[in-house]
């Protein structure tokens, strides 16, 4: 078996995982860019989107359930910002952060209460959960769709930010909060728009993610949320292309590390197992530390200029 042949399945699954991380990471990075707030509740919003789908499919047809789920998730993201972050706009940044942690635990505990802590099976969505063969390897259609959909959504988002009025307002707000307010930008609607876009992408991400890994528990959002956050920091928090590239890098590396033992054994580099798979998560966080030490602003981070 050639090297490419053994590595390919891991790369494909890594790209798919990366695409899902990317959709979550954008939510982190956009909110950070504008509010300088790390929205810890974002991963849990993602989990709630998954749970909503489980319960919606039980009562309405699938074609209605998906848009309804996305709409409700967006509403949730909007409501969280209005209830938990907006009243703290003038408070120190740390207070907002603590409020975000509070929201995160609130969502997790609500989910625990509603599901009773049991694993909920995500509904199979026809067509995208079908089995297909890519380069002689069996997988689901969603694995292949994910990266393309992610890139498409990001392209739309970048266009939105660069060529529309609300995008211009967002850019202005991210540069200087107070000044843009003086220029007549309605700061609250810009921030709301940011949260709406972020949660929309998280909702789409949840469909892709849970179709691939069909089990929703109250802590489902924690690990993907954390990895997406690392991806956002890795790419340079505040930068959208950075978050996407960071997410793909982390997804692919993680997947390859999980299979590295096998790749090496099959290709005859080693004969005994060395247990590298265990380090896949450790790798992600080591990467975070390394990047923070050597390039604190991340791969594509904005350069900080001292204001005089």
């Amino acid at each position: 078996m050639s090297l490419a042949r053994t590595v390919l399945p891991y790369v494909i699954s890594g790209i798919s995982v990366g695409g899902q991380y990317a959709l979550i990471a954008i939510g982190y990075t956009m909110v950070y860019g504008i509010l300088r707030l790390i929205n810890f509740a974002h991963g849990d919003v993602f989990m709630v989107a998954g749970l909503m789908m489980v319960y919606l499919v039980a009562s309405v047809p699938l074609v209605l359930a998906i848009p309804l789920m996305i709409a409700l998730t967006v509403l949730l993201g909007f409501a969280i910002e209005r209830v938990a972050y907006k009243p703290l706009r003038t408070a120190p940044r740390m207070s907002v952060m603590i409020s975000a942690i509070g929201v995160s635990y609130l969502l997790q505990n609500l989910a625990l209460y509603i599901t009773g802590g049991l694993n909920k099976n995500y509904p199979a969505i026809p067509w995208i959960s079908d089995r297909i063969t890519v380069f002689g390897m069996e997988t689901t259609r969603v694995t292949v769709i994910t990266p393309f959909l992610t890139i498409f959504l990001v392209a739309v988002l970048v266009w939105l930010i660069n060529h529309t009025k609300i995008g211009m307002a967002m850019r202005a707000v991210s540069v200087d909060f107070e000044t843009s307010q003086l220029m007549g930008i309605k700061i609250n609607s810009v921030i709301s728009a940011t949260f709406i876009i972020g949660t929309f992408l998280a909702a789409v991400g949840s469909v892709l993610y849970f179709t691939n890994y069909p089990g929703v528990v109250p802590t489902s959002g924690a690990m993907p949320g954390l990895k997406a956050f690392v991806a956002a920091v890795f790419g340079g928090i505040g930068s959208i292309p950075g978050a996407v590239i960071g997410a793909f890098i982390i997804g692919i590396c993680e997947s390859i590390i999980k299979g590295l033992d096998t790749i090496l054994i099959v290709n005859g580099a080693i004969t005994e197992q060395i247990g590298l798979a265990t380090f896949s998560d450790a790798f992600t966080f080591v990467l975070l530390i390394v990047i923070l030490v050597f390039k604190p602003t991340g791969l594509f981070g904005e350069k900080t200029t001292d204001k005089v």
């Binding site: 699954s13 089990g215 924690a222 999980k258 790749i263 798979a277």
Partner: protein, 401 residues
């Protein structure tokens, strides 16, 4: 004014959080026996139920509790030294987490329980062993199969078989029935149950013919492990992990056309697995404690009870397919009653004294303890999931020797 409002909001949120925290545990308590207790004036003897109600093993824990609740409903009283006592089940959720287990155990002890049943999952039982030991409260493990549960703790007993036995049975089965020559073993990192069972399996199967890998907590992408097994040319996939991970592994095995049977231990004897495997072409075999149909009267009784109680039905995964852990929970309750009768007292110390010499003929077979506190059991049932009908098909009774 604003401050008062803020304070009020904070209090409301706090209340909401408290309600969330305590509700899951409370909701699992059966409504039936609490109303009985109010009506009669008998003294109450408390039996602690130390089971996960949430987390990785939440589904299994709930099924095990079902057996106890059913038994409690059939026999709500026990006669101890000539006095009739009402039996109250006291619940504590160990959340499938080793660090929450001692707190849950302490809750039970503070509640004044005479003895404790549980837990589903070996890790939490090992973690809570010291707490029970310090308080001198005896505990009867229902389906925790790791040897350390009883060997490291003088107050822990158990009514099920052990992992060295189960691992050997599974390895023999893989070799002789499935004609496997190379096995892929997957365990969860830091999990006493799956890690231990994998080790015993590897010991029996031959280390040189096994590939052993572990996945970290919070993993959701199992596709790479499936690919690993395929690439290394294995012909059996052994993964005695939690049911939550199991459902995902089965889903991935199906979409990636795993092409080899999946073997697992008693944990997988659950409708979570049946639901996941139904309609796929994945072959799943498990060893377990009880095969449905071995006692028709019992089966009919408990099914009628499950179907008549909406909470019980939901806790059993929405259908009346019997899990072996439920039956084990049922037997454990009666072992507890026997121990109380034999002790002639509700004092934990007295109960602890009589446990080693206890004998009980349960639905799952005869129960007696050896000097370490383990059940003397020598057979396990092997079952295979029928992917068309979504039920377990009985394969064979396996013994070691």
């Amino acid at each position: 004014m604003k401050k008062i409002l803020a304070l009020a909001m904070a209090l409301i949120m706090l209340f909401a959080l408290c309600a969330c925290g305590s509700q899951p545990a409370a909701s699992s308590a059966p409504a039936a026996n609490s109303s009985d207790n109010e009506a009669s004036a008998n003294p109450v003897v408390k039996i602690g139920v130390f089971e996960p109600q949430s987390g990785d093993n939440g589904a299994g824990g709930k099924q095990e509790v079902l057996g106890m609740q059913y038994a409690n409903q059939l026999t709500p009283t026990v006669e101890i030294a000539g006095q009739v006592y009402d039996v109250e089940l006291v619940y504590a959720d160990n959340a499938s987490s080793n660090d929450k287990a001692p707190t849950a155990a302490q809750t039970l002890i503070s509640n004044g329980v005479s003895l404790v049943l549980g837990s589903y999952g070996s890790g939490v039982s090992i973690a809570a062993g010291d707490t029970f030991s310090a308080a001198g409260v005896p505990a009867i493990g229902v389906t925790c199969t790791n040897p350390q549960v009883t060997s490291d703790c003088d107050v822990y007993f158990r009514i099920c078989f052990l992992d060295p036995f189960q691992g050997t049975v599974l390895a023999n089965y893989a070799k002789s029935e499935l004609k496997a020559t190379k096995a892929y073993c997957l365990a969860k990192q830091g999990d006493d149950y799956s890690g231990g069972l994998c080790n015993y399996f590897i010991e029996a199967f031959g280390k040189e013919n096994c590939v052993y890998e572990q996945f970290p907590e919070g993993t959701s992408d199992y596709s790479t492990y499936i690919t690993n097994a395929q690439n290394q040319g294995c012909d059996v996939f052994f993964s005695p992990v939690s049911t939550e991970a199991a459902a995902q592994i089965i889903a991935k095995a199906d979409t990636q056309a795993l092409g080899m049977p999946i073997l697992a231990g008693d944990t997988w004897d659950s409708n979570v697995i049946l639901n996941a495997a139904k309609g796929t072409d994945v072959q799943v075999c498990v060893t377990t404690f009880y095969q449905e149909g071995a006692d028709a009267n019992f089966d009919a009784g408990i099914k009628a009870w499950i179907n008549g109680d909406a909470t019980a039905l939901a806790n059993n995964g929405g259908n009346d397919e019997l899990a072996a852990v439920t039956v084990m929970g049922f037997d454990a309750y009666y072992v507890a009653l026997e121990a109380l009768k034999a002790a002639g007292s509700t004092d934990p110390a007295e109960v602890l004294k009589v446990l080693p010499s206890l004998n009980y003929e349960g639905v799952t077979g005869a129960i007696a303890f050896d000097e370490i506190g383990d059940a003397l059991r020598d057979s396990a049932f092997v079952k295979e999931c029928n992917t068309e009908t979504g039920v377990w098909d009985f394969v064979t009774v396996a013994k070691v020797g």
